[in-house]
């Protein structure tokens, strides 16, 4: 029994000691869109080293995280894959108004696991010489919506429709393509950068073909009084973070 009571006591003393010296390390609870997973891991690590704060991250599709926040999830900062959801939480009074900003701009690519499947992505889509083409569900995933816009822009939406397979999130869409079950698919450039397997065939879609995938972050009410939440958002705006985000295949402002 004595052994067990020692630990909380040490923690308490340690906390007291730290707080008297002015280093107040806190934990921030982050809700982060699934497409940002890989870079978020690195960012969190750097943030912890730099500030002494700690992070606890929940990954999920933007839509799911949004409805969790709506229903009282304990998140303090929300990094979405679009602008709409952070704006919505602000409108609903769940986030600090004026705290939202775009931290990354997503880039959409057409990718296949097969080597040199096409030389020109555009004509590949128009030729429709495939059985299954994967995209994320346009109704719920911002990257899926962008994929739909690309096909509409090229005027191939109707001819491809019967061959479209929809992933629940951009992560699942990537899975369909990475296992070779879909001939090709619309995924995030960031996923390709993180992918360790075969490089396959890639078409970086011109950004003028789809509405910008602006990914916005917002400070939620629950993080209002948490110094670590403020510190994380400041860190996200720093040059250091921007460089990392860019290196992982996103655009930054």
């Amino acid at each position: 029994m004595t052994g067990r009571s020692v630990k909380p006591l040490t923690t308490l003393l340690l906390t007291l000691a730290l707080s008297t010296t002015g280093i107040e390390a806190a934990e921030v609870k982050l809700a982060i869109a699934a497409n940002f997973t890989d870079v978020a891991r690195i960012l969190a690590e750097r943030f912890e080293q730099q500030t002494g704060h700690t992070t606890r991250i929940s990954y999920g599709s933007t839509g799911k995280l949004y409805s969790q926040i709506e229903h009282g999830a304990p998140f303090e900062v929300f990094l979405a894959a679009d602008r709409a959801r952070p704006e919505k939480v602000q409108d609903e009074g769940l986030a600090v108004s004026g705290s939202g900003f775009v931290y990354a701009r997503g880039k959409l690519v057409l990718w296949s696991l097969r080597e040199s499947l096409f030389t020109e992505g555009e004509s590949y889509l128009k030729g429709s010489d495939f059985r299954h083409l994967a995209l994320a569900n346009p109704k719920t995933a911002p990257y899926g919506l962008a994929a739909q816009q690309v096909m509409q822009h090229l005027g191939v939406m109707e001819s491809i429709r019967p061959r479209l397979v929809k992933g629940d999130s951009i992560a699942q869409t990537f899975q369909f393509v990475a296992t070779g079950n879909a001939d090709a698919g619309f995924v995030a450039l960031a996923q390709i950068k993180a992918w360790q397997g075969e490089s396959g065939t890639l078409w970086e879609i011109p950004e003028s073909y789809y509405a910008p995938i602006d990914q916005a972050a917002v400070l939620l009410n629950k993080g209002q009084d948490n110094p670590a939440a403020h510190a994380f958002l400041d860190f996200l705006k720093s040059e250091k973070a921007k460089q990392l985000i860019q290196a992982y295949g996103y655009g930054v402002e």
Partner: protein, 225 residues
Amino acid sequence: MDFDWQPVWLTLKLAGTTTVLLLIIGTPIAWWLARTHVWYKQALAAVVALPLVLPPTVLGFYLLIMLAPDGPVGQLTQAMGIGTLPFTFEGLVFASVLYSLPFVVQPLQNAFEALGPRPMEVASTLRASPWDRFITIVIPLARPGFLTAAVLCFAHTIGEFGVVLMIGGNIPGETKVLSVAIYDHVESLEYDQAHLLAAGMLAFSFLVLMTLYLVNGRYTRSHRP
């Protein structure tokens, strides 16, 4: 509100096909498990029961890899000229057969074990062939087992979600079954449609299970000595 019946029919078709196939595949497996005494019997029984405890994500993930163009099953299906199975109705049937296997085999095995060897021995002294014995003795005596197996398989396939989500690709009329349609509506914040389908499914599942218990209850009562 426009009601989309397609997912309903598709789900019924999937559950019906799976049930018929599984009764055909599951009966010999259950019969063998009930009769055999080989040392690896328990290992095989455990394999059959695996889908009960595995999360659908595990099954879905391995199916995705196995059925892929360069996966073992994928290569076989391509050699047979039927292409690859993910994102097709046939693929869902394949997955459902695996996923619902214990729901058919276990009730049948229990029913066969409860029969004991006696009725078969008596019949064989009357020179009934093995096939005759099975049709005229085992099937009628194990009727509650067959009924339970069929109903559980049907109901369980209707409620299948995780595996379908992972290998289905959400194609209307092909792989967009009820559970996926409901999930889609909820995710898109279309709560009205979601409520309609979800409530319908709840009522249907309750009715199916209650009917099963009523029928089986009556059957056991009337056959008790």
